[in-house]
């Protein structure tokens, strides 16, 4: 490209620094939000994969069973009778070190002699008959941890360490350290606590039982035969599955969650795109004379097109690079929030460091550049089509657009329809749902000019009444300059509407959950063992404690459940067995059914009830059958009803305890709820129960109120990340409003100079400017409300439903709406100040010098 042209373009940029800074900031923020979410997502996924990998080692398959079923003897049988040589018994649990800094370890018990093909870092202990083998196998409570973790925690050899498993505290003896060979194994080992399998069984109270048996089976026909042989050898209730299944299940669990976060972050980028589009369009409009001049001295259309693209490119590049930096910084904060949410909702994972993958950065870079260039295409094209010589005057141009308004509006309506059609496609694809949002937004922005004209018709008389002729001028100028204000207002209202949408979605969700909690938490006291993942329990309640509690005279009635899935093969459904009275059962709200009608089938006929997300995820309707492998082999259970539940997005099935007892020989209890004869004595009874708990195992003892508050607290915490996204969206919106309105006003300095020359005082100028931007802010805010709520509706009823299967009650949130208006107005007023300040200080003559 011509160097002089390039320099001339640069000059324009340099001479409008504020405009430049704001539009770059817009790009940077959009990119930052996307990249930070992407980095946080991939870091947590990678951390989880590493922690899975280190535990699975080179295992390709695993045998798992009902928690109580996988006996040691199965391993011996496979190894000796089955001649399966590459097999390793594993006992595993998460434990927490009671020592500062707190650290959660994956405690694994291994037979060092079986480890050689699996985990090199463990087999080292035995392969060369390392001296520590003797201690490892024979020293009481001996464990090994990574030398790096030991250093971090200030642990020395021969230290004892207290660990917490479930509700009980145990002491372990650090006999030595594992020395990682490279950076990768350092990462792999950092959260592992390794013990001999006998020690692990003793510490975890799993004498005679295994968590799983790891296997290495070749991926060929011979391997298939081995699998067949193993299947024949396995007792009922045990199964063999691929080792990746665990990682697979985990990644499936968080998939919907991840996609939603990514999509919401993309929304920020889309808003950023609109802002760029706005800035670019604006700079074209502003420079029509200059373009005409260039054209008339022989610069071709192509060259003009290139100049504007070049300008965009520079902005895109600076903005994107800035965005990447900002994104990495942001990601550091977000990854902590994100992993806490994942820990609350899904499984335990700890992310110590951000995994800044080149791929993520490249993706962010291309996205930022691409989005900006895409947004710049149309304005650049427009610039290139400016005819040579003296350009059209403004009024002609505005007239042209005004004529276009009906056509634009029709196109807008068509686009809206397209969005609706996309939503109507019966698909579970979340991406498709988000794709439907785009035509909605475009349709809306096409309708914006019409809306502005209509709105101004309403506002003008009111503005005239309130602010006199200044008000009228302000209102009229917005309509008259629709070519600029239209784009600006559209961009603003989209930015603001995204905050409305996210805010409304969160509040509606929260309200639904609160109502549900109130409806379903009817017992007085809830007792459960503590666990690392909040909505899951790793352990059972001590049965002697349960017996003592139920014998208390104050207890009128009780419900309890046992988490059957903890005792089933991994990869199977989540299943709870529930002992519940008819009274409590009535609190379940069934989809299109009455709890009372379902009760007999559930209680007496051995049928299941399932939660809404479960039905959705597995495509199950009432009357369908579910296959469950029980201790008596695989059985089919009819689904009696689907009920609303918001405690897990994976969902679960529930059977009555009577049914459970029929198929499983187990009496363990994962959670217990009590109804008291006299609920006013709650506190004293909690006290009594605490004293019953002589074994000292920690149990969570919570009153109705406390549990409800705790649940809401967890809810709020899990939505913290969405809140962060909302705040980011607000910031992007704010900057958008600020930059576009400010630029708009600055561009009109000549117009204002004429007004000044005609007698407008500086104070009046202030008023006019602030009035104009304020009006535009209000218009954007008002327009954002319907769009925001439509988007919220889509998020709640289409996207959330398709991602998680929950039915949420959509509720209009006044505070969210007010907040949106406030953001728009505040930013708009702020946007008026600087131009007003600047213009009231320049002499009108200077501004009119060209005339």
């Amino acid at each position: 490209m011509n160097k002089i042209l390039q320099r001339s373009a640069m000059r324009y940029i340099v001479h409008h620094p504020l405009q430049l800074v704001l539009s770059i900031l817009g790009i940077a923020l959009g990119v930052a939000v996307v990249i930070s979410i992407d980095l946080a997502n991939s870091s947590s996924a990678k951390a989880f994969n590493i922690s899975m990998e280190n535990i699975a080692g080179k295992a390709t398959h695993q045998i798992t069973g009902n928690f109580n079923d996988l006996h040691d003897s199965v391993y011996t049988y496979l190894k000796i009778k089955g001649k399966i040589s590459a097999a390793a018994p594993i006992v595993e649990a998460n434990v927490k070190a009671i020592r500062e800094p707190k650290h959660i370890f994956t405690f694994i018990g291994v037979d060092p002699f079986a480890e050689k093909p699996f985990r090199s870092y463990i087999s080292k202990i035995s392969s060369k008959l390392n001296p520590s083998l003797r201690l490892f196998m024979t020293k009481p409570s001996a464990v090994l941890i990574s030398v790096n973790t030991a250093k971090e925690m200030g642990i020395k050899e021969n230290d004892t360490l207290t660990i917490k498993f479930g509700g009980s505290y145990k002491k372990v003896f650090i006999i030595g350290f594992i020395y990682p060979e490279d950076e990768h194994s350092k990462e792999v080992l950092k959260d592992l606590m390794i013990a001999d399998i006998s020690t692990a069984q003793e510490i975890l109270n799993m004498q005679g039982k295994l968590s799983r048996i790891d296997l290495i089976i070749p991926d060929d026909n011979h391997g298939k035969e081995i699998i067949k042989r193993i299947k024949n050898l396995l007792p009922a209730g045990l199964s063999i599955s691929r080792s990746q299944t665990r990682t697979q299940i985990a990644s499936d669990m968080v998939k919907a969650f991840d996609i939603n976060l990514t999509a919401l972050s993309l929304l920020a980028l889309i808003v950023g795109m609109f802002l760029i589009y706005n800035t670019m369009t604006f700079s074209v409009v502003q420079r029509k004379r200059y373009i005409g001049l260039l054209r008339s001295i022989g610069v071709t259309q192509k060259e003009i097109f290139r100049i504007f693209l070049f300008e965009a490119l520079i902005q895109a590049f600076i903005g994107t690079i800035l965005g990447l930096l900002l994104g990495v910084i942001l990601a550091k904060a977000i990854v902590q929030i994100l992993t806490r949410t994942i820990n609350d909702l899904y499984f335990y994972v700890s992310v110590n460091e951000l995994n800044i993958s080149l791929f993520s950065l490249l993706k962010g870079f291309l996205l930022g550049m691409g989005a900006t260039m895409l947004a710049a295409l149309k304005p650049s094209y427009e610039a290139s089509s400016v005819p040579a010589g003296i350009t059209l005057n403004r009024s002609e141009q505005e007239l042209k657009l005004k004529k276009k308004v009906p056509r634009l509006s029709v196109a807008g309506v068509c686009s809206l329809f397209l969005g609706v059609i996309i939503f109507l496609i019966p698909s579970k694809s979340i991406l498709l749902s988000y794709a439907g949002i785009l035509p909605l937004i475009i349709g809306f922005s096409l309708l914006t000019p019409l809306m502005i004209i209509l709105l101004m018709k309403l506002i003008k008389p009111a503005a005239g009444l309130t602010f006199g002729s200044l008000g009228k001028i302000a209102a009229m100028s917005i309509v008259r300059q629709i070519s600029r204000t239209g784009v600006a207002v559209a961009a603003l209202s989209i930015a603001v509407s995204s905050t409305v949408a996210i805010g409304t979605m969160i509040s509606s969700f929260r309200q639904t959950v609160v109502q549900w909690l109130e409806g379903s938490l009817k017992a007085d006291i809830y007792i459960s063992p503590p666990s690392l993942v909040l909505r899951e329990s790793d352990t059972q309640l001590d049965s002697s404690l349960v017996k003592k509690i139920l014998m208390l005279p104050e207890v009128e009635d009780y419900d309890f459940y046992t988490d059957v899935s903890k005792k089933m093969n991994s990869g199977q459904i989540n299943l709870l067995a529930l002992k519940i009275g008819e009274r409590s059962f009535r609190n379940f709200k069934f989809k299109g059914d009455d709890a009372l009608k379902i009760w007999p089938a559930f209680q007496n006929k051995g049928e299941l009830i399932i939660t809404e997300p479960f039905a959705f995820k597995n495509n199950i309707k009432t009357g369908d059958y579910l296959r469950v492998s029980t201790e008596k082999g695989e059985r089919r259970f009819r689904v009696a009803g689907i009920y609303y539940d918001y405690s897990s997005d994976i969902g679960f099935a529930v059977m009555s305890f009577t049914t459970y007892k029929h198929y499983w020989n187990d009496n363990s209890i994962s959670g217990l709820s009590l109804y008291l004869k006299d609920p006013s004595k709650l506190d004293s009874i909690i006290n009594v129960i605490q004293h019953l708990n002589l074994k000292g195992e920690e149990v969570l003892l919570r009153s109705n109120n406390k549990l409800r508050n705790a649940s809401i607290e967890v809810f709020d915490r899990t939505f913290l990340i969405t809140n962060v996204l909302q705040i980011l969206a607000i910031i992007v919106a704010f900057i958008g409003v600020l930059s576009s309105l400010m630029a708009l006003q600055l561009e009109r300095s000549r117009e204002f100079a004429i007004l000044r020359a005609n007698g407008l005082t500086p104070v009046q100028l202030w008023r006019l400017l602030v009035l104009q931007t304020g009006l535009m802010g209000i218009v954007s805010g008002i327009l954002a409300l319907p769009l925001g709520n439509v988007l919220a509706w889509v998020l709640i009823h289409v996207i959330n439903k398709r991602s998680f299967g929950w039915t949420l009650q959509y509720s209009l949130m006044p505070e969210v709406l007010v907040q949106a208006l406030a953001i728009a107005l505040l930013a708009a007023l702020l946007a008026g100040f600087y131009p007003a300040y600047k213009m009231s200080r320049t002499s009108p003559a200077l501004a009119l010098r060209d005339e």
Binding site: D72, K79, K128, S132, Y179, Q201, Q207
Partner: protein
């Protein structure tokens, strides 16, 4: 460019230094020979709390075929030479070692009073299995470990059985001849396997003084040791897709001890020879650090009817005729011998069937099938046997102590 190259070279170098420093200070120091590590686990100097072989005692069968967990180490050691009917020759070794890791019973293990896990044990088992395929000049060796709990490995006297996972040797029939029943031996690793039946043709031979075999200075530095020197062996060996029907002779050694060994003994050469005139010769020569023959070297000649003639160190002459260098650890092993026993007018030349029969496992040692020929009292003699050579692997100077786990000691 040059600067970048230099810088990166420096970085790599310093990294290498750091890594090697870390390795050298690490727990697992690869420089120390495996055997040394093994010794430190298996034969620490502390022998108190274990039973020791102090005085001769009457060995009782079948009880003493079974384990003696009160002693620190023990083994069931089978070696044999077998032929197909077309004369293709194979050698095999199958050994199961029992090792006690700690002396006390480990009932109370955790800090709290939890019930012990069924995995809990102080007994571990190690198995070595080798096949020598003479025609292809190939030697296969395998090693396994397991703990003596959960039925993964163990030993019992009645019915007789020693097993390590699916490797095992057990009583095949109930009619015991000379206190030892017919045995069936099974070992398989990958596509190499041996499935043999063994029937003892002679009574158990008690080694040393009525079964007490002194290995070094001091009371208790001895083992209880008996052998079944001639076991008729039949069965199959499979290598990959080929299966060979074989017949031949095996030798079984049984030994258990809690020995603290003499620091000046550096290794030993052990010979078990089955002569074609119905006799067997067993001779082990202990080497001292200075290369000389240790006074605890010993041997016997067993006559066809089982009579034993003892040989002390001065009654046997052993000359090394050639050496073989291991391509793995560059250790030099004797490879051909001349064995002279003036007492019986015996003069034999002993040659390995395959030069490389070094076990590349936790402990490096050479254990291989040999053949020999020569004469005794002017009658020509020949036969097969097994030779074991230990202490030739290169051990760091300061680690030159006895390896605790040895075949014979």
């Amino acid at each position: 460019m040059k600067k970048i190259y230099l810088t990166s070279l420096l970085v790599v170098l310093s990294l290498a230094i750091v890594v090697s420093y870390m390795l050298s200070t690490g727990k697992v120091n690869n420089k120390i020979k495996a055997s040394v590590l093994l010794r430190s686990v298996l034969a620490d100097e502390d022998t108190s709390g274990y039973e020791r072989a102090i005085a001769p005692k009457k060995l009782v069968f079948p009880k003493d075929h079974g384990p003696h967990p009160e002693f620190k180490t023990e083994w069931w050691y089978f070696t044999g030479n077998l032929d197909t009917k077309y004369g293709r020759h194979f050698g095999y070794q199958f050994t199961i070692f029992r090792i006690s890791l700690a002396k006390k019973s480990l009932a109370k293990q955790s800090f709290d009073t939890s019930t012990p896990s069924p995995w809990r044990t102080n007994q571990i088992y190690m198995g070595h299995f080798t096949i020598t395929d003479v025609k292809n000049n190939k030697f296969y060796c395998f090693e396994r470990f397991s703990r003596g709990s959960e039925n993964l490995a163990g030993a019992s006297s009645l019915p007789f059985k020693v097993w390590l996972e699916d490797w095992n040797v057990e009583a095949y029939s109930n009619d015991a001849i000379n206190g030892i029943p017919e045995l069936r031996l099974l070992a398989k690793e990958g596509d190499i396997s041996a499935r043999l039946s063994l029937k003892s043709l002679k009574n158990p031979v008690l080694q040393g003084d009525r079964g007490l075999s002194q290995k070094g200075e001091g009371k208790g530095n001895a083992s209880y040791y008996y052998s079944l020197p001639r076991m008729k062996t039949e069965g199959t060996i499979s290598i990959a897709d080929e299966e060979f029907s074989l017949k031949g002779l095996s030798w079984m050694d049984r030994e258990w001890s809690t020995s603290a060994l003499d620091k000046n003994q550096s290794g030993w050469d052990w010979f078990s020879l089955q002569l074609n005139d119905g006799r067997e010769i067993m001779y082990y020569q202990m080497r001292r650090s200075d290369g000389s023959k240790d006074r605890y070297s010993n041997g016997i000649i067993i006559s066809p009817d089982g009579k034993v003639t003892k040989l002390n160190k001065d009654e046997v002459e052993l000359h090394v005729l050639s050496y073989w260098t291991s391509p793995r650890d560059k250790a030099q092993y004797p490879s051909t011998w001349r064995l002279k026993i003036p007492k019986g007018n015996i003069d034999l030349q002993i040659v390995p069937y395959v030069k490389d029969q070094q076990l590349n496992v936790s402990i490096h040692y050479w254990e291989g099938a040999v053949r020999f020929w020569g004469n005794s009292n002017d009658k020509t003699l020949s036969g097969n046997g097994y030779v074991e050579l230990t202490g030739y692997e290169k051990i760091l100077a300061d680690e030159k102590e006895n390896t605790g786990l040895t075949r014979r000691f």
